[in-house]
């Protein structure tokens, strides 16, 4: 051997004798580590464990199913449907094109579109967030996709909740729509003390969905989702360390039963669409329950639940006929001749005229040196108040307006609910206006001119009302003075439809209460009712063409001038003007005359004449009679056909 063992030996012995030092070094270094591990894992362990949980939990707010909305016969008009959506999870998908091809075959979306959407979404959200390819899969699609799942990983069919409005645009303005809370709404709701809503929540934006949002919305649940350090949702079935933190399940919203009648609502829509009119229809029963509330044009609130595209949205807001507007309560307009019965009531109660008082109604009435015209070239001659209502004489009412004056008119019309919010349980109602001399002095700085009483008397000038107010006031006339607050919601119920809260009709005013300054004697109501009967049934009635067999209605037509045109322009060349400057048609009618149940008010925008509104009311009543008085039709159909044969 070449190695010099003799030379090395002593040094080796010495080194090996010192070996214990190395054991000590090993012991001390490891002790350090063990002490450190004891500190971290045993002493700080639970605190660091809590940190690790916080690290990986992300709160996800789970939207609750909203309450179901029923019509008055417990038929669903807004509900929640499961939405089976096809999603793709990018992290599992290796080869997209063949998969996109297969999917395209099943759901009918072009392959390129699928690939583009997939690429765009996974670029934005990362590869752990599934990309939604198609919502609302049908059963066939689901079955075929389930089969596809076997060959291609990463396909998923997610079950989501979707707010469904089965009657599409029929109830749009009454029910309203829902959509995600906006950046501007959140602070506003917070200011009002609503601390529950948060960014990303879905809330009602209009109609009942908005007004009863707190009831219908339910309580948002919280689901804890595992995320990685980059905040991406982590998928991994084996992560079971969440035992200590429980999800908070969402609580479904409360159901509501409305006063609306599905059949009548559909009838309202049908007649508007048939006659291609834009405007509003309100039908209320004698205690103020709204049976139908329809505006045309309308929109499909389901578009908003699906997530409205900017394209559709801009079409909606740029449409000159304003489909999003609840015209019945959001638009105020001149009542026109529909205001005349109120003048009659005022004048009768004021004692200017009696039932049989004859008043001369020539074609032109001179006040000072200014002529005020009737809508006819002949005038009506000497007529009573009921005839004046029947034929809608202007001059008769000019004279009554002058005789009573604006403040008397205001006293009674305001008592009937005109010119102020009715406080219907829908949002964004406008008040309209019933002027008084005091009001004018205060707001215009001018005294009331006597001549203005003439405009007021035919529902022009400052007078401005909503279609809903007209319906309410006419119902009050039919009720002989009982004014009820209009209402849409009858009951709030829990998810099992047990009634939590029931709303009863609210009597706002009773004009036949002798203690009140606005007292009107029942007899005077009878006289006005007689006039309204003649409008619909009299030989010269303006709405005599709209009789309903077996069912007597009474009402009043009106052609309401759009503000800003002088009386002379009212009836001239209406059809040549742009639609927005044309006169509105109005017809408000209640029935049956003998025992009023329902009042219908129809506004046809820019129709130039009330003749356009009359058939809508007629057709609506036909539907009403068909449903509520079917015996009236059978009793009267036979004599009718006989008449036809004669």
């Amino acid at each position: 051997m070449k190695i010099h063992i003799s030379y090395e030996e002593p040094a080796l012995r010495e080194l090996q004798n010192r070996g214990s030092l190395l054991y000590i070094a090993l012991g001390s270094l490891f002790s350090f580590l063990i002490l450190r591990l004891i500190y971290l894992q045993m002493i700080q362990g639970s605190a660091l464990y809590a940190f690790s949980e916080k690290n990986l939990l992300k709160e996800i707010r789970v939207q609750p199913p909203r309450g179901i909305i029923y019509d008055r016969n417990h038929r669903i008009i807004a509900e929640n449907l499961p939405n089976f959506a096809l999603t793709l999870s990018p992290q599992y998908i290796k080869d997209l094109p063949p998969l996109a091809h297969e999917i395209s075959e099943i759901v009918g979306i072009p392959k390129e579109e699928i690939i583009n959407k997939f690429k765009k979404d996974s670029r934005i959200n990362g590869s752990y967030r599934p990309v939604t390819i198609k919502n609302f899969l049908n059963r066939t699609e689901i079955n075929r996709l389930e089969l596809l799942k076997i060959d291609f990983p990463g396909i998923d069919i997610e079950e989501l909740i979707f707010r469904e409005y089965p009657y599409r645009d029929a109830f749009a303005h009454a029910i309203g729509y829902i959509s995600e809370i906006s950046d501007t709404e959140l602070p506003r709701l917070r200011e009002k003390g609503n601390r529950i809503v948060q960014q990303g929540d879905v809330i009602g934006k209009s109609g009942l969905e908005d007004r009863y949002d707190d009831f219908v919305r339910g309580v948002t649940g919280i689901s804890y989702v595992k995320v990685d350090a980059k905040g991406r949702e982590a998928l991994g079935e084996s992560l079971k360390f969440l035992g200590s933190i429980e999800d908070l399940p969402p609580k479904a919203g409360q159901n509501i039963e409305t006063t609306l009648d599905l059949d009548l609502q559909l009838a309202a829509q049908e007649t508007f669409l048939k006659h291609k009119q834009t405007g509003a229809l309100v039908a209320i029963n004698k205690q103020g329950e709204v049976l139908a509330l329809y505006n045309n044009p309308s929109f499909d609130p389901g578009l908003f639940s699906k997530g409205i595209t900017s394209d559709v949205w801009s079409k909606l807001i740029n449409n000159p006929d304003k489909p999003l507007r609840n015209k019945a309560i959001q638009d105020h307009h001149s009542p026109g001749s529909t205001f005349k019965p109120f003048i009659a009531l005022t004048s009768l109660q004021d004692g200017n005229i009696k039932e049989k008082t004859l008043v001369n109604a020539p074609p032109v009435f001179m006040f000072g040196n200014r002529p005020y015209h009737d809508h006819t070239k002949t005038g009506q001659g000497y007529i009573t108040v009921t005839q004046a209502i029947e034929m809608s004489s202007n001059v008769f009412f000019y004279k009554q307006g002058l005789a009573t004056g604006v403040d008397k008119i205001a006293l009674y019309t305001k008592a009937l609910g005109l010119g102020a919010r009715t406080d219907i349980d829908l949002k964004n109602e406008v008040p309209g206006l019933i002027p008084t001399s005091e009001w004018k002095q205060k707001n215009r700085g001018e005294p009331w001119q006597e001549g203005e009483n003439i405009s007021i008397a035919i529902g022009q000038g400052f007078v401005s009302v909503t279609t809903l107010q007209l319906a309410t006031a006419y119902m009050a006339i039919a009720n002989s003075g009982k004014v009820y607050k209009p209402m849409v919601v009858k009951k709030i119920m829990d998810t099992e439809n047990r009634v939590l809260q029931e709303f009863s009709p609210t009597l706002v005013n009773d004009l036949t209460d002798p203690t009140k300054p606005y007292y009107v004697s029942p007899d005077n109501f009878k006289i006005v009712q007689k006039g309204l009967f003649l409008v619909a049934n009299g030989e010269r009635g303006t709405a005599r063409g709209a009789k309903i067999p077996g069912f007597t209605i009474a009402g009043k037509t009106g052609t309401a001038q759009v503000r800003g045109f002088s009386a002379d322009q009212v009836y001239a060349n209406c059809y040549n003007r742009p639609k927005k400057q044309r006169h509105n048609g109005l017809y408000i009618a209640y029935g049956p005359f003998e025992d009023p149940e329902i009042t219908v008010a129809v506004l046809t925008e820019g129709s130039c004449s009330s003749k356009e509104a009359v058939p809508l009311v007629k057709e609506f009543y036909e539907s009403y009679v068909k449903k509520y008085h079917p015996q009236a039709i059978t009793q009267n159909s036979e004599p009718d056909t006989k008449k036809g044969k004669q």
Binding site: L37, F51, L56, D228
Partner: protein
């Protein structure tokens, strides 16, 4: 042929078996198992290109064992003879890495060899052990090592230290220094040398801080000292690592249930931070068991040193002992927040070809020392 040490004839069957260190073999096998279990867990939610590292590690383990057995039967003296050749070739590789090295995480450490990335600073640790063992076994005055005897070892350690620090890889550079110092200190060193050395270290430390460290290196040290100063930035890794270790508590969260490890809170969880995965999923008990296995391995190495038949073999064993213990200490110290974050793998558990090979070659030498302890 007869003179070839590998052909030494065993005396009998029983003595033949006694020539293998079973504690070493057993502990390494257990560490292999720990490595694979934790890699299996760490690769659950890992980036696609890293999915295969579990199988790569099996391959490295196999190659490692092949080297181990090969080196067991080749006399370590063979490597003594060529110690300086290895050293110089390795220095060459370290210089080469400055020019043709791959840059990753801001440091040039690897040479791409096609099938794997070779990290010269890892094999440098072995070359360092070889040359120091050779030098110190030749020049060890009986009255202890004086300044004159220190010049060459310091030069031998200084060159790779400077080259590695330049990459920059301060962690590995300091490890080379620590291994060298450990080997020198086990020899008899004169007292005044020790005192002077300590003083120089005290002076050199601040000077190195001021002039020697790159900003990111200073940052790491500062982050280590004040990790909460910037929890989302520089201190992030250290804090997340501590949370991972601590949240394992006594029993751990179980296989693949470590939220910190599974959900990408940890950087490099398959290599330098593998101990986080282990301690989060198996808790304090798992950590103690692992440290216990390391202790068995280290004691087996020390046994080789104590029974070595020559100074060279003893020094080689001590070199490998310090190689393993410093890696274990620095790596676990770093993930538990005892030390700053430096890129030091956990021996035999971290994923990595060069690291595994380095350890198995070192252990193969020691096995060879043990195999030949009774041979003359």
């Amino acid at each position: 042929m007869m003179r070839h040490p590998g052909l030494s004839v065993p005396i009998g069957q029983n003595t033949f078996l006694k020539r293998f260190s079973f504690y070493m073999i057993l502990s390494v096998l257990m560490l292999n198992a720990i490595s694979l279990i934790n890699l299996l867990s760490a690769t659950t939610n890992i980036a696609k290109h890293l999915k295969g590292i579990f199988y790569s590690q099996i391959m490295w383990i196999a190659i490692g064992w092949a080297l181990y057995w090969l080196l067991t039967f080749v006399s370590y003296r063979f490597f003594v003879r060529f110690a300086y050749v290895f050293y110089i070739v390795n220095i060459g590789a370290l210089i080469a890495v400055m020019f043709i090295g791959k840059t990753s995480y801001g440091a040039q450490r690897w040479i791409d060899l096609g099938f794997f990335s070779y990290q010269p600073s890892e094999t440098m640790k072995l070359a360092m052990i070889l040359v120091l063992a050779k030098y110190l076994s030749r020049f060890n005055p009986s009255d202890g090592i004086g300044f004159r005897n220190l010049f060459v070892p310091m030069l031998l350690a200084g060159i790779p230290f400077a080259l590695t620090a330049k990459q920059p890889d301060l962690g590995t550079a300091l490890l080379i220094l620590a291994i060298s110092a450990s080997m020198i200190l086990t020899m008899r060193v004169r007292m005044h040398v020790l005192v002077t050395g300590l003083c120089v270290a005290l002076v050199a430390g601040p000077l190195a801080w001021q002039y020697g460290l790159k900003p990111y290196q200073k940052n790491r040290v500062l982050t280590f000292l004040y990790p909460n100063k910037d929890p989302r930035g520089a201190g992030y890794n250290s804090i997340q690592a501590k949370i991972a270790v601590g949240s394992g508590q006594l029993w751990g969260k179980g296989f693949r249930n470590g939220s910190q490890s599974q959900l990408e809170f940890l950087p490099e969880k398959q290599t330098d931070f593998i101990f986080c995965v282990l301690s989060e999923e198996y808790g304090f008990l798992g950590c103690i068991a692992t440290l216990g296995i390391y202790a068995i391995l280290l004691m087996a190495i020390l046994q080789c040193a104590m029974t070595a038949k020559d100074l060279y073999g003893a020094l080689l064993s001590i070199g490998v002992f310090s190689l393993v213990i410093w890696h274990v200490f620095v790596n676990i110290g770093m993930v538990t927040g005892l030390l700053p974050i430096v890129g030091v793998p956990l021996p035999l558990i971290s994923y990595g070809g060069t690291s595994s090979m380095t350890m198995m070659v070192g252990l193969g030498w020691i096995s060879s020392v043990f195999y030949r302890k009774d041979m003359f």
